[in-house]
């Protein structure tokens, strides 16, 4: 039954609801730029009068907010997250190859290509002036530059590798940290749910954490009814309820890194920055280092073979130009040095094919011809210079591919973000309109209340007299 006092109720509810609506708008406006914020909407419903027997016509009993929902698209969000994971993977790949590119410094006048060319050019010059000590010294210096540049590139690749493996540990720590925060959120959400409440803000935070996590490792998210999530990373359980099961890095630079779950089982990842880091440290960089070793070893072997059979200015044969590789387990690039005898005295450089013939430069010519030498069973049938160029080209191709993938996924991600935002983002104008509406409704409700208050006043003051 509707009494005057009941009318107050309508007004009171109206005030409160419109006020709350205004607050929701205000919350939206306040968080218009908050990352991960989904705009909220107050769901209002008219209060149904209680059902009483007998005919009665009664308007509803006011308005009530049934729910404050987050306006968002889970579908777009999920797609966005997955795409973001792939993009992060390719971004890391791109960084890796750009780092490798920077180490090689080609095409350039100070790269290995130039030193390799100069090396053979010098042998060519020696063949026509074998007696000339200044030519011998120049050859020796250029050879030293070549060995140093190879060694330098190798060591800088190694530095890059160490840096990236450092980042790997850091990122895995980050994963574990995010897992922790998700577990915490889970706990809070479960508690809130038990209290039959809801926290949109916490849910937003959860979404944000998931986004961040997916950039690092590829995850599968199971949403529970109570708002908590269960997260699997690389196929292994990462977060369940309020528990986070930490990931760890196993292995080292020599055996290769591997990401394992808390129970020691390896993860099978398909995207994410961490996967790209592991690839870089285990495969991408060591592959380049091995190529470098192959080139160094080939140069050492082939030049020495010819040099060994040749004679210096006054010396006998059997002298190596480069130090032969002493330890086959260590990288050739780090053992690539001009031999001590020749460093001491460049007249030991064997240009001549016969003893005691200072004008003979035939061995020198043979060594110069190594530049073009091709054989089926070595270096895939390429010459030394060709093979090195091939390495640089394929590295460039990989870097280029990574860039393209980053761009492609970036575009997709941008579109998905836009789609998601179009649903979940805050539009100022809209909120303004909402606020105006709420304000008007509140004004109207206030006016209604003042009218009802007047009516009551008349009832109290006028009627009993």
């Amino acid at each position: 039954m509707s009494t005057i006092f009941g009318s107050f109720e309508i007004g009171r509810k109206a005030l409160r609801v419109q006020h709350k609506g205004m607050e929701v708008s205000g919350q939206n406006v306040a968080n218009a730029n908050t990352p991960g914020y989904s705009r909220q909407r107050a769901e209002m419903a008219a209060v149904v009068s209680p059902i009483v027997p007998g005919p009665s016509l009664a308007p509803g009993r006011g308005v009530v907010i049934t729910d404050i929902v987050r306006v968002r698209s889970e579908f777009y969000h999920a797609q966005m997250v997955k795409t973001g994971s792939h993009k992060a993977f390719w971004e890391m790949k791109k960084e890796t190859f750009q780092g490798i590119e920077a180490v090689f410094m080609e095409p350039d006048d100070y790269g290995i290509n130039k030193y390799l060319g100069d090396f053979f050019d010098n042998w060519q010059e020696l063949s026509s002036s074998p007696e000339d000590i200044s030519v011998r010294n120049a050859l020796r210096e250029n050879a030293v530059s070549l060995t140093r540049s190879v060694e330098d590139v190798y060591l800088r690749l190694e530095d890059l590798r160490i840096d990236l493996s450092g980042e790997l540990y850091m990122r895995v720590d980050e994963v574990n940290r995010i897992a922790d925060s998700i577990a915490e959120l889970n706990e809070k959400l479960r508690f809130i749910d038990a209290l039959q409440q809801k926290s949109n803000e916490l849910l937003d935070q959860l979404d944000l954490a998931v986004e961040e996590l997916s950039k690092l490792v590829d995850i599968r998210v199971h949403h529970k009814a109570n708002g908590t999530v269960e997260i699997f990373a690389g196929g292994r359980l990462l977060v369940q309820e309020d528990q986070a099961f930490y990931l760890a890095v196993e292995g080292d630079g020599n055996s290769g890194y591997q990401l394992v779950s808390h129970r020691g089982l390896p993860l099978k990842m398909e995207s994410g920055r961490v996967l790209a880091l592991i690839d870089a440290a285990n495969t991408d960089i060591p592959a380049m280092q091995e190529e470098l070793d192959l080139i160094a070893a080939t140069i050492i072997e082939e030049v020495n073979n010819l040099h060994f059979s040749g004679f210096g200015l006054q010396q006998g044969d059997g002298i190596n130009f480069f130090n032969p590789i002493g330890n086959p387990d260590l990288p050739a690039s780090l053992q690539f040095k001009v031999s001590d005898l020749i460093m001491e005295d460049s007249s030991y450089i064997a240009a001549s094919s016969q003893f005691g013939e200072p004008g003979n430069g035939e061995i020198s010519l043979e060594i110069a011809r190594l530049r073009d030498f091709r054989a089926e069973d070595r270096l895939n049938g390429s010459s030394l210079a060709e093979y090195y160029r091939g390495i640089v080209t394929s590295m460039g191709v990989q870097a280029q591919e990574s860039e393209r993938m980053v761009e492609a996924f970036g575009k997709t991600e941008a579109e998905l973000i836009e789609l998601h935002r179009s649903i979940a983002g805050v539009n100022m104008d809209e909120e303004m309109l909402n606020m105006v509406q709420y304000q008007h409704a509140w004004n109207a409700a206030a006016r209604y209340l003042s009218y009802v208050d007047e009516m009551l006043t008349i009832l109290f003051t006028e009627l009993g007299r």
Binding site: F120, E125, S128, S129, G396, A399, E403
Partner: protein
């Protein structure tokens, strides 16, 4: 689709970023002039640019090499031209020298000029470029042609024909060859030192060996039983008396008849088996010798000053039988002192008593002058030469030999061989002194030319008797110390060019070019008019042709080098162009693109500002 302000802001931002990125790319291209800078920007392009860069460097290396090659070839050509001039001049002199109206003196006066030309030619053969000798083959750091005596010391097996070792005083003309003979002395015979001498018929040249080593005993065969190195002195147990000057007495033991054969001072063969005989003013007690003699043993007794006398006929009068001689004599006293005697004397041949003449410290019996006797040799003429040798005597201390090499212009030089005692010389280092001169060179210090020594150490000898041979090469004739290799240069990939002419190719594998000039010189000295107009001239012609041929060869190579240089130059341009097409920007294009992009950027900025500023907030009161 619903649009939020955030979305607009993001979109504007993304687009502005994209625009800026493009601007950055263009700006980078403009400031470096290159289209790409990293392999990731254009992997294939980068690979190709690296390839072309390497090719350009290599091309430039070849061009540098080319300069080297051209330098060598030009130098070689210039040297050959200079040499050609020299040869032409010598040829002219040869023709002039063949002129009938010239005398021997005239010809001899021209000869020194030829030697000068020879020196010049040798200088040309030793041309250097950049400190490298261009005619030495691969031996570019050492002088290829040197006027040194070459002493080849070889160990020969066997001994020497003993008969050739003995020269009697007076003249014996004849041919004695130095031998690696097959005579092998009996194994238990002590070794002896002998001096072998050789004569050539006609222009008698002789060599007398000189050495200064303790174990040589001049011209003496040690009687078996006596020790090597011991001396036999006159006044010794079996030889007494006052010897006549300049004699040699050789006693040969005939084992079959148990007697000693010899030639007495009358020139008659004699034999004695016991007792005492006297010849040459000395008395020999045979019985003292016979005791341990074996068949074929020889004892030589000689005296006097070791001397060689070179005679040259300066005037002949067949009517009166007078011959004028000029003599030059090197004389070694028994104590090792040396003196040189030179002068003129005349002898009148005929039915007068045999004469002797004193030359310096030596008295020569001219009875047996042989070809110097106008009555015996009707062909005697002015300019003929002969050499007399007087064997050394024997006393304690006179252990040396003298080597005098005269007129070393004959092909092949000359040699002297020694036998020596192997035990005493085993493992020792010994020094052989040589002294040689051109006896008909009238320069004042002759006798001091080519003075020197060579030291050899042969370690342990394995043969019972071994000989050491020293061979001399022609005086003043250069010896080749280079090798026969070609200096090869790669002028473009797998194309080679020989940049030098080794000595054997330029000057003859037997130094024929020098020999041709040398022959002219000696033809002038020898007053050989015929040779000057004929054989010597022919040799010069051949030499000149040889040089012409080499000049043509070198010229052809030079041409090829020039052609290759042209090709390389064109190739260089081409490579650079292709590389530029790949990596260099089209300046006009990039600037246009940049300006357009800049405009787009500005438009985007102004649109954004228009869109972002107003919102409903401004309009609600």
């Amino acid at each position: 689709m619903r649009v939020t302000h955030r979305m607009i802001a993001d979109t504007v931002n993304t687009n502005l970023q994209r625009s800026l990125r493009r601007l950055e790319v263009y700006s980078n291209q403009l400031s470096t002039g290159k289209v790409f800078h990293k392999p990731s920007e254009n992997p294939v392009g980068v690979g190709r640019v690296m390839g072309y860069s390497a090719a350009v460097n290599r091309n430039e290396q070849y061009r540098l090499n080319m300069n080297q090659t051209r330098g060598w070839l030009e130098n070689t050509e210039a040297s050959l031209r200079n040499g050609l001039d020299v040869l032409q001049r010598v040829r002219e002199l040869s023709i002039y020298g063949a002129n009938e109206s010239l005398t021997a003196d005239d010809r001899r006066a021209i000869a020194p000029e030829i030697l000068e030309f020879l020196e010049h030619l040798i200088g040309i053969a030793n041309t250097e470029t950049n400190g490298l000798y261009i005619f030495g083959g691969h031996q570019t750091l050492s002088v290829p042609y040197r006027k040194e005596k070459v002493y080849h010391a070889d160990i020969l097996g066997g001994g020497i024909d003993p008969d050739s070792a003995v020269i009697a005083a007076g003249l014996q003309n004849g041919n004695y060859s130095l031998s690696q003979s097959s005579v092998t002395p009996a194994a238990d015979e002590d070794a002896a030192v002998r001096v072998t001498q050789s004569y050539l018929q006609g222009n008698a040249e002789s060599i007398i060996g000189e050495a200064d080593w303790g174990d040589l005993v001049n011209g003496v065969m040690i009687k078996p039983g006596l020790q090597a190195g011991s001396t036999i002195t006159i006044g010794d147990d079996f030889v007494t008396g006052s010897p006549a000057e300049n004699f040699v007495l050789t006693l040969t033991y005939d084992g079959t008849n148990n007697r000693w054969d010899y030639i007495d001072d009358g020139g008659n063969p004699q034999s004695i088996d016991t007792g005492i005989f006297s010849h040459y003013g000395i008395t020999v007690d045979i019985d003292q010798l016979t005791g341990s003699a074996a068949d074929g043993d020889i004892i030589t007794v000689a005296s006097g000053i070791s001397s060689s006398v070179m005679l040259e006929v300066t005037g002949v009068d067949f009517e009166s039988g007078q011959v004028n001689y000029h003599y030059l004599s090197h004389q070694y006293a028994l104590d090792g002192t040396y003196q040189k005697a030179e002068g003129d004397f005349s002898l009148t041949f005929g039915d007068t008593a045999p004469q002797s003449v004193t030359l310096g410290a030596v008295t020569v019996n001219v009875e047996g002058l042989g070809s110097m006797n106008p009555f015996l040799a009707s062909g005697l003429k002015v300019g003929d030469r002969a050499t007399l040798d007087i064997l050394p005597g024997m006393t304690a201390g006179s252990n040396y030999d003298q080597v005098t090499v005269n007129g070393e212009h004959r092909t092949g030089g000359s040699a002297v061989s020694y036998l020596f005692d192997q035990d005493s010389l085993n493992g020792r280092e010994f020094e052989f002194k040589y002294y040689s001169l051109d006896t008909f060179d009238r320069s004042p210090d002759k006798g001091a030319l080519y003075d020197g020594s060579v030291t050899v150490n042969y370690g342990v000898f394995s043969e019972a008797e071994q000989a050491l041979t020293f061979s001399y090469d022609k005086m003043g004739f250069p010896v080749y110390y280079g090798d026969f290799n070609d200096r090869v240069q790669e002028i473009s990939p797998h194309q080679e060019m020989i940049m030098n002419l080794s000595g054997d190719k330029a000057f003859g594998s037997n130094r024929e070019i020098f020999e041709a000039v040398y022959d002219v010189y000696w033809a002038l000295i020898d007053n050989d008019r015929e040779a000057l107009g004929d054989t010597a001239l022919e040799k010069m012609d051949r030499a000149i042709d040889h040089f012409l041929g080499r000049l043509a060869e070198v010229g052809a190579r030079s041409n090829r080098v020039d052609a290759m240089n042209n090709t390389l130059s064109n190739e260089n341009l081409y490579l650079r162009e292709v590389r530029s097409n790949i990596e260099d920007i089209d300046l006009a294009q990039v600037i246009t693109d940049y300006l357009m992009q800049e405009n787009a950027y500005k438009a985007a900025l102004s649109t954004a500002s228009m869109m972002l500023q107003p919102s409903l907030v401004d309009y609600l009161r």
